[in-house]
Amino acid sequence: MTALKCLLTDASAAPPFVDREQQREAARIGMWVFLMTEVMFFGALFVVYFYDHRLYPDAFASAGGRTDLWLGAGNTAVLLVSSLTMALAVRAAKERRDRALFQRLLLTMILGAAFLSLKGLEYSRHIHEHLLPGGSFVYSPSVLAQPAELFFYLYFVMTGLHALHMIVGLAWLAVLAVKARGDGAGADLFTPVEVAGLYWHFIDVVWIFLFPMFYLVRGH
């Protein structure tokens, strides 16, 4: 558990670490090891997508035209800006500017919540348009219905897992924001904020690839 403590709190150097800097590097390496497993986790789904895209290019272009390009692009912009505010939060944590840290974490969370709200709006639209794979899936032209259902199956699974990661990230940032404002005032939150930042940016990177795969694949 002591190893996990550095994700949430100011952990002053504890054995086996000789100093805080070494402890910080260890936390950073640990997060990258975790992100490596995340690359494989999402990577398997990416491979499935590229495989099916190659097999059914017409159906994927057709189905890709059914997602809302502007909502997707807007959401991408929201997420990119949230990465900026997160990077700024890390900078504030490093310089121990608690007020700026709190504000920047809060701003990142607001942008994250905005992203999830827009995603929810999209989901409800797709479900309304019978694009949720399963018994109620309806697609025209019907010759493309089966591979188009595959497209939307991948869409819901991949964006859903991405959203799940964002919810975890939001909870993590909430704990850090409370610490920056309340009991942790004056504490050095650099390591936990930096490691949370790595996680947040990684989620952003996943979305950067999901955006062209599900919104920019369309026929002309």
């Binding site: 992100l35 690359v39 990577g43 990416f46 940016h201 952003d204 950067i208």
Partner: protein, 91 residues
């Protein structure tokens, strides 16, 4: 030694990311045939690189971190290469 970059750099990186986003959206309206998807993925890769290098500060700190990032790409590359080789050569 750790270099501390100014916050201005972070804003410029974000500006570049938003610029690339508008380029990729704009390109999706131009008919490039099968290159549309390739171009969109290439721009995504450029954006990912900016985020990883500047926001995740991959260039700083110990080598182990860069090793980890590279290794994950190599594993993913093996997975992709193996699968796609089968797909592209099967007739």
């Amino acid at each position: 030694m750790e270099r501390t970059r100014g916050e201005g750099d972070l804003y410029r990186v974000a500006g570049a990311l938003l610029l690339l986003l508008s380029v990729t959206v704009g390109l999706s309206f131009v008919d490039l045939g099968r290159f549309n998807f390739a171009a969109a993925l290439a721009i995504a890769a450029a954006k990912a690189l900016l985020v990883v290098y500047y926001f995740m500060e991959l260039g700083e700190g110990v080598d182990a971190v860069r090793f980890m990032a590279t290794a994950s790409l190599v594993w993913l590359g093996l997975l992709l290469a193996g699968t796609l080789t089968d797909l592209f050569t099967r007739r």
